[in-house]
């Protein structure tokens, strides 16, 4: 397996990466952990002329708390997230999800930013960032902007990141007191991507759900926030009944993917099952 010939350049700053992207007019790609990109290039399903390695840019790494948010640098690896004390304390869903991404080797090298920008419809992170209400920061030729995770995934492998943009960080609001979150996943048996992945964040007011957000991955051509299922829970007690109602309401009105691992109706059914399991975890 040999990729087509390309140039490799290590970027030392976000600005440099952007200007390299600009000067290559769509024929350059950013290289983060490489776990999505390199296999495709080996299969020659993609042959960029230049790879810009952004993994060593210091400002893109690390996890820190800032203004009520936890900021995760785009080049932070799944492993670093899985072993972050800060996240374990403040946003444990991230730790939980990081531990079930790929395998040890993938977690050591793969990055959250790379995964989000790649937007594989079956990747784990999209569901989690959506449910956490995160904002995603993107630097482009015209400066920086932030996009709500809900609006970030625009379609099949497409995101709000433009051709000459660099996804730089993920800003996760520190969940209020009384919040709970979890990620439940049914892995595709061969690749271990999510056949269905469901991330849920709940805020309880007494025994009622005061707020909740639900993100799904693996179900449709892009990860999405499921407001129907959320509506079935808001203001309700977390009971067998409300959980069932949410499961019945979920993944409604979305185009559901189908492949030889899961047909459309089975996938839809699984979405309900895994939403239920996630909610049971939070009971």
């Amino acid at each position: 397996m040999v990729a087509t010939s390309f140039d490799y350049q290590k970027a030392t700053s976000v600005e440099q990466a952007i200007s390299l992207l600009q000067s290559h007019d769509g024929d350059a790609k950013l290289l983060a952990g490489g776990h999505s990109l390199i296999p495709t290039m080996k299969l020659r399903l993609n042959s960029p002329a230049l790879l810009i390695d952004v993994s060593k840019i210091e400002e893109l790494r690390g996890i820190r708390e800032e203004d009520g948010h936890i900021v995760i640098g785009a080049m932070t690896t799944h492993y670093e997230i899985a072993s972050s004390d800060l996240l374990a304390k403040k946003a444990p869903m991230f730790v939980e999800a990081a531990k079930v991404i790929g395998d040890i080797q993938v977690r050591n090298k793969g990055t959250i930013g790379g995964s989000l920008a790649h937007a594989d419809p079956a990747a784990d992170w999209p569901a989690v960032v959506i449910a956490s209400g995160a904002k995603i920061k993107i630097h482009g030729p015209d400066g920086a902007r932030t996009v709500d995770a809900d609006d970030f995934f625009t379609g099949f492998y497409t995101t709000a990141v433009g051709e000459n943009d660099v996804l730089t960080s993920i800003h996760v609001p520190v969940p209020p007191k009384g919040s709970k979150s979890t990620y439940a996943k049914f892995p595709q048996p061969a690749s271990r991507y999510a056949l269905v992945g469901c991330a849920v964040q709940l805020t309880m007011d007494g025994n009622k759900v005061s707020d909740c957000s639900i993100g799904f991955t693996g179900v449709s051509d892009a990860a999405f926030r499921d407001s129907n299922a959320e509506a079935a829970l808001k203001g309700k007690e977390l009971s067998g009944e409300s959980i069932q109602a949410a499961a019945d309401a979920c993944a409604d009105g979305v185009d559901i993917m189908s492949d030889h691992f899961a047909s459309e109706d089975y996938r839809k059914h699984l979405a309900g099952v895994f939403l239920k399991r996630a909610l049971e975890n939070l009971k």
Binding site: L43, S47, F156, S258
Partner: protein, 148 residues
């Protein structure tokens, strides 16, 4: 790979028909096709640039319009070759009038992939069929708006 979709548009069938029979418009709205050069007999040389997430490559081949019944239906036959495999697609487009000024456009077809695309693309391309049809309708809609 089965392709299917239905979409209602605010224009009579004839208007949509005229748009679709114009090679330049057809090239613009057919997903991935970037250029159509008429070869006569409703056949075109077609050049495509596919960019779908991790997959990017150029295709070259033919596209033909067959089985025409104005302004009701026609069939698009697309044969595209590339280094990552070949794609052959056949799609029937049906224009059903709804009232005076609306049309239900129905797309149904099949695409056949070969080579690396067929073998490796399953997980990657599972969603392509859907998004291609969706894109086709979206493009058609914006063409109509632009013409209005």
């Amino acid at each position: 790979m089965h392709l299917e979709g239905t979409h209602s548009l605010n224009a009579p069938p004839q208007e949509i028909w005229n748009l679709l029979m114009d090679p330049e418009t057809l090239a613009r709205i057919t997903p991935a096709i970037s250029r159509l050069e008429p070869l006569g007999d409703d056949k075109y040389k077609a050049v495509a640039e596919v960019k779908l997430g991790p997959v990017k490559g150029s295709f070259e081949g033919q596209m033909a319009v067959a089985d025409k019944k104005e302004p009701e239906h026609f069939t698009l036959l697309i044969e595209q070759k590339s280094r990552m495999g070949n794609a052959n697609a056949e799609g029937r487009i049906q224009l059903n009038p709804i009232g005076d000024n609306q049309t239900e456009v129905n797309f149904t077809g099949d695409a056949k992939l070969s080579g690396t695309l067929a073998r490796m693309g399953q997980r990657v391309l599972g969603g392509v069929a859907n998004s291609m049809v969706k894109q086709f309708f979206q493009n058609l809609e914006s063409e109509l708006k632009a013409n209005a």
